[in-house]
């Protein structure tokens, strides 16, 4: 008997893999062929359009002579797309914020570094304050009106404000809804369900049409702040439900043990319950952030020029008519990178935080 005999060649290696995963039965073979045909229909034409036949260099519309995409359109309007109408002399202020944000995020992404907690606290609490002064002015900086804000910058501002402010409100609402005090619980429930039950557009319409009526004569918020308040409450209601899920997942023993140790309600929540339950729901929280980031595009309906809004806007410029495909594909690519990156990060975090109970 020969013990060194190899398995048949079609059972191992590349051939074996192909046979097992693509051609195991006759209908799998047909499915594979159909799949390959679809890929052939979509991928090569797209790559030809976007890269091989595309124009990358030039400055005006006349340089777009090739049959493929003309990325000159994006290149020429890059400043508008990234900064909006922000005054050219003040762009360094936004650049500083971009720089700080990128550095801190990369720092958080690299595994096994010290002081990650401090960087996180900086990003959540100190960075937004710096941004307020940097962007709108004050402390010796020139005032820049919010109607000049736009592009990717505005999208990040809205998403950032929504994320940073909605989390604490969401946590308070979740605690309120789970509270044993009937009035607090009822009020929180009503608040959460109203915001969750309506589409964000109606919230934004409400923010732009009704908030001015709510304020006393003479007090006038600008459009951006009204939109921000709407976005903040909307996303807080969704986060509240996510956090409540985490609170419900806590075993009752945790509550009882902390009460037995003599902790007050707030100490029990802050030291025992919330740290554990927030950890469980981190992936879901990031999921809400992704949804919020995608939803920021809706502000263009009430007349703010966010990233997508500015791309729509430059597409209507008479010098660049007919390049909407390039604009949309570029916007889609940027949004996709942000959202996909966040979802992959949350998956990684989920694995890392899973200490196994």
């Amino acid at each position: 008997m020969n013990k060194n005999i190899m398995p048949p060649v079609i059972e191992i290696g590349l051939l074996g893999w192909l046979r097992k995963n693509l051609f195991s039965t006759w209908y799998n073979t047909i499915l594979t062929l159909i799949g390959l045909y679809f890929i052939y229909l979509i991928i090569p034409p797209f790559l030809t359009w976007a890269f091989f036949d595309a124009t990358f260099s030039g400055t005006t519309r006349e340089d777009c002579t090739s049959s493929g995409a003309c990325w000159v359109f994006i290149k020429q309007n890059m400043k508008l797309i990234i900064y909006g109408l922000y005054p050219s002399d003040e762009l360094w202020r936004i650049n500083i914020a971009y720089f700080l944000l990128t550095v801190s995020i990369f720092y958080l992404l690299i595994p096994n570094l010290k002081y990650k907690g401090s960087v996180g606290i900086f990003l959540l609490f100190i960075f937004p304050v710096i941004c307020v002064f940097l962007f709108s002015g004050g402390l010796g900086l020139e005032n820049v009106e919010t109607r000049l804000w736009g592009g990717l910058f505005l999208t990040l501002v809205i998403a950032g404000v929504g994320i940073v402010l909605s989390l604490p409100i969401g946590i308070m609402l979740a605690l309120g809804r789970r509270s044993k005090l009937p009035i607090v619980s009822l009020l929180s429930t009503i608040f959460i369900e109203i915001w969750r039950g309506v589409p964000l557009i109606t919230v934004l319409f409400m923010a732009s049409n009704m908030f001015p009526l709510f304020m006393p004569e003479g007090v006038n918020f600008d459009k951006l702040i009204r939109a921000l308040i709407g976005v903040m409450f909307f996303s807080a209601a969704y986060l509240a439900e996510v956090v409540r899920g985490g609170l419900q997942a806590m075993p009752k023993g945790q509550y009882e043990a902390s009460q037995a140790a003599g902790l007050t309600y707030w100490k029990m929540m802050a030291l025992i319950i919330l740290p554990q339950s927030l950890k469980i729901v981190i992936p879901a929280i990031i999921g809400s952030f992704i949804a919020l980031f995608k939803d920021t595009t809706l502000v263009l309906i009430i007349g703010l020029f966010d990233f997508l809004g500015i791309i729509q806007f430059v597409g209507t410029n008479p010098d660049w008519l007919g390049f909407s495909h390039e604009g949309y594909v570029f916007a889609a690519a940027i949004f996709w990178v942000f959202c996909f990156g966040m979802s992959r990060y949350s998956q990684r975090l989920e694995k890392k935080l899973d200490t196994g109970h």
């Binding site: 995963n21 390959l36 004569e217 309906i301 729509q312």
Partner: protein, 389 residues
């Protein structure tokens, strides 16, 4: 030292609870009062009367697409109904296609065929991570508005035409006698349901099976075609024809509607696919193995063991996605499809200035839909919970 009566009182949990609640309630009431007060003053200053009297007033604007009779002389309330129906239409069509595409991709994602699973995964990951509004813009501005003129329309089997004016479909025309077919169709369906119930009961009692599915399918199809022939094919199709610069006849779907429903269904399908995948994966492998070892055939394993258990997991998040689709249909405002938000919270609000009443009504509609769905879901969960250990 014994604690004094006063500190006993202060640190009593019930007393503290009542105290906190009183503070919260008074803060909320104060806030609401402040807002109401300001609103009343502001409306007085702008010369606006509150109330719903404006609903009976002539609207004086036209709407591009209406399912019911509507003209500029109709009232604001009619405009509200038109917008509501247009929203429900988009939601209905969108839910139908999103379910089909979503289930297809969800099952593909679990395929043992590596390529098919990867294609489904790519679709889901690409579509889910791009904002819906961007996708709607893409389909509307970059695809449908860029289509050729009616003369160079894209044709399918000489009866469906797609061009920059919209999608033209054959319009069914029900002639005399078609109501007979309609009634017969429903009667056969009722008979089939009774056959199912009877065969199930008999099987429970005696164990003898009856091919209920094939019998009722044959009954429905057979009677349908027999009736068609007997009445002499009363259903005809009005096929769109090119006359001058545009198509006449048939059914025309405006490009806004096509773009919106297409984008909504593709977007929601990606989420439904994930729901379906999670539902199927939630049924443990032991269930399949146990069912096989009892001797059930593959088809029965799926029908009796896997699908009922998977559906229990799938249905609640699925209805949630339907609700999301309905709420997302409000993005119609961005491409000027006349839905509830655009017609009522847009045009009507601009003309009347009745911000509070109008936004209240629009939000009320969506809130009603949400609450209604969640009540149905709670009922569903209660019924489905019964079989559980």
């Amino acid at each position: 030292m014994r604690p004094s009566k006063f500190s006993n009182f202060i640190f009593n949990r019930n007393v503290q609870g009542t105290f906190y609640q009183a503070i919260t309630l008074s803060l909320v009431i104060l806030g609401v009062y402040y807002i109401v007060q300001n609103t009343a003053e502001n409306m007085m200053a702008r010369g606006l009367a509150s109330g719903f009297h404006f609903l009976g007033v002539e609207s004086q604007f036209d709407i591009g697409m209406t399912l019911i009779e509507y003209s500029p002389t109709s009232t604001y309330f009619d405009a509200f109904i038109v917008g509501l129906l247009n929203t429900l239409l988009v939601a209905g069509i969108g839910i139908f296609f999103a379910t089909i595409v979503g289930f297809a991709f969800g099952i593909m994602r679990l395929s043992s065929n590596w390529l098919i699973a990867k294609i489904a995964e790519t679709y889901i990951e690409v579509i889910r991570n791009i904002p819906l509004l961007l996708q709607i813009f893409f389909w509307y501005f970059a695809v449908l508005r860029a289509l050729p003129k009616p003369k160079q329309s894209i044709e399918f089997v000489d009866s469906v035409f797609l061009n920059n004016r919209g999608l033209f479909l054959p319009d069914p025309n029900f002639g005399e006698g078609s109501s007979v077919i309609f009634y017969l169709f429903w009667i056969t369906i009722i008979i089939s349901i009774s056959i199912f119930i009877w065969s199930k009961r008999r099987q429970n009692r005696t164990g003898i099976t009856f091919p209920a599915f094939y019998v009722s399918a044959a009954l429905i199809v057979g009677v349908f075609f027999a009736a068609l022939t007997a009445t002499g094919f009363p259903v005809s199709f009005d096929i769109p024809e090119l006359k001058g610069f545009n198509y006449k006849g048939g059914m025309r779907l405006i490009p806004e509607l096509v773009a919106l429903t297409f984008a909504l269904s593709m977007y929601t399908a990606a989420f439904i696919a994930e729901v379906v995948r999670a539902g199927i994966m939630a049924v443990s492998k032991g269930q399949t193995e146990a069912a096989r070892s009892v001797g059930l055939k593959e088809g029965l394993v799926l029908r009796l063991i896997i699908i009922p258990q998977a559906l229990r997991v799938i249905v609640p998040p699925l209805t949630n996605q339907y609700l999301n689709l309905t709420k997302n249909s409000s993005l119609a405002a961005a491409i000027a499809y006349p839905d509830l938000v655009l017609v009522f919270a847009g045009t009507a609000l601009m003309q009347t200035g009745q911000a509070i009443e109008i936004i209240g009504m629009v939000m009320g509609v969506y809130l009603f839909l949400s609450l209604f769905t969640s009540i149905i879901m709670n009922l569903f969960n209660r019924i489905m919970k019964v079989g559980e250990r």
